[in-house]
């Protein structure tokens, strides 16, 4: 068991351990908005010395802590599991805490702005209420009938696997706010709500599938999706969002799930 592994180091590990102290100069171009001060948004440039292996969130923190305390954004876990900090980085939705500076071309100014389609309240903070309303509208909880069993409900590994992908959702809204249909029509349920409906529709223990399908059969439901795949590209949890939507559509057509 105790075979030494140190000899098998890859270059990647060596590089990590050597630790890079080569700081590079990066410009962050942030779209700021504070209606208390000015009715319109502006772009503001910030110059920083950063280690390219740091996160974009580290850069925002650095700006807030060292240059401009008024910069406002949401963050909590700093490692991609709480869903607080979805924002548009170089034009694409990402989590700031899951995006390393080296991966977004620090040679040019890195643009940062709020996600699209939800009202911006201040700087990078948007109104999340419509997003959560859509989530609530799909009845995102286990629906069962009959008496509760004394022990756990049984579920085979295959049945558990069936909806594994969509249980990963952290409700960050990166998908919904990347969807062209949602930008144009905030009434559309949006991919995140559909993902969370999928989570239950395909759970073998759940009996509310019919109702949820009926909700998504609505004219603001799954049929509005134009398979543009922005949601799948944006999802920081790697959920195959478009696939989940497709499965819900097919379940509606065949009424089998």
């Amino acid at each position: 068991m105790s075979t030494p592994t140190v000899e098998t180091h890859s270059a990647a590990l060596d590089a990590v351990e050597a630790g890079s102290s080569d700081l590079i100069s990066v410009t962050f171009r942030i779209r700021r908005f504070n209606p208390e001060e000015h009715p319109d948004p502006v772009w503001v440039d910030y110059q920083l010395l950063m280690d390219p292996k740091e996160r974009v969130l580290d850069a925002l923190n650095k700006i807030k802590w060292e240059q401009d305390g008024t910069l406002t954004y949401r963050r909590s876990c700093a490692h991609g599991i709480c869903g607080s900090d979805a924002m548009r980085i170089n034009g694409r939705n990402r989590l700031a805490c899951k995006t390393l500076i080296k991966d977004v071309n620090p040679e040019k100014p890195i643009t940062i702005e709020a996600i699209k389609g939800l009202a911006v309240l201040k700087d990078l903070i948007v109104d999340m209420d419509p997003f959560f309303q859509a989530y609530k509208d799909v009845m995102p909880f286990l629906i069962t009938s009959g008496n509760e069993p004394t022990r756990e409900r049984l579920q085979s590994q295959a049945d558990r696997e069936r909806f594994d992908d969509t249980t990963k959702c952290i409700l960050c809204a990166a998908c919904t706010s990347s969807c062209p249909v949602f930008w144009n029509d905030g009434q559309y349920f949006g991919p995140a709500a559909i993902v969370n409906a999928h989570r239950f529709i395909f759970d073998s223990r759940d009996e509310g599938g019919e109702q949820r399908l009926e909700i998504l059969n609505d004219r603001e439901g799954v049929w509005r999706c134009r398979t543009t795949f922005n949601c799948s590209e944006a999802c920081p949890r790697g959920i195959e969002v478009t696939k989940a939507i497709q499965e819900v559509k097919r379940a509606l057509v065949t009424r089998r799930f």
Binding site: V42, D68, T70, N217, D218, V253
Partner: protein, 162 residues
């Protein structure tokens, strides 16, 4: 695109001094576009399968249209001489056969309905106000019905001997 924002940038010193940003900066003209918010009233259940049927129709008609439209293009635009040979006589020759009559009729109906439904989607996506939406869809409906009827009439009542 997010690349060229150079001329829209204010230096960070200027920003958020607490005195506002009335800098004459072109960026000041931006507005933050709020989405039409979901309200408690939503979802308005439609309780019909209309959207699903429309969606299915788009796919089915699309597949059939591939044959019909591409065949049509091939014959009219490409095969021996292409458009140069299209004329009244050419049309007359084709519509003499019920096969081509059927072909064109089916193509007309499918394409118009497919296209009209597609346009309906587009209107739904972009019309901001309910009223505009209604007007545009009304217009679309009238134009579609008119075109389909006119086209049908032409195919059926075509008289090669006028």
């Amino acid at each position: 695109m997010s690349t060229d924002t150079n001329d829209l940038v204010v230096p960070s010193l200027q920003a958020h001094t607490g005195k506002g940003l009335g800098t004459g900066n072109p960026a000041d003209a931006f507005v933050v576009e709020p989405a039409r918010a979901r309200t408690r009233k939503t979802p308005r259940r439609t309780r019909t399968n209309f959207e699903m049927l429309a969606w299915l129709f788009m796919r089915l008609s699309g597949v059939v249209l591939v044959v019909l439209v591409l065949g049509h293009l091939l014959i009219n635009l490409m095969l021996d001489g292409g458009v140069s040979r299209v004329s009244f006589a050419f049309v007359a020759g084709r519509w003499a056969s019920p096969f081509w009559q059927g072909w064109d009729l089916l193509m007309l109906w499918l394409a118009m309905l497919h296209g009209a439904n597609g346009m309906r989607t587009v209107i739904n996506d972009y019309a901001e106000k309910d009223a505009t939406r209604l007007w545009l869809k009304g217009l679309l409906g009238v134009a579609t019905v008119f075109t389909v009827l006119l086209g049908t009439l032409v195919i059926f009542t075509f008289d090669p001997n006028i």
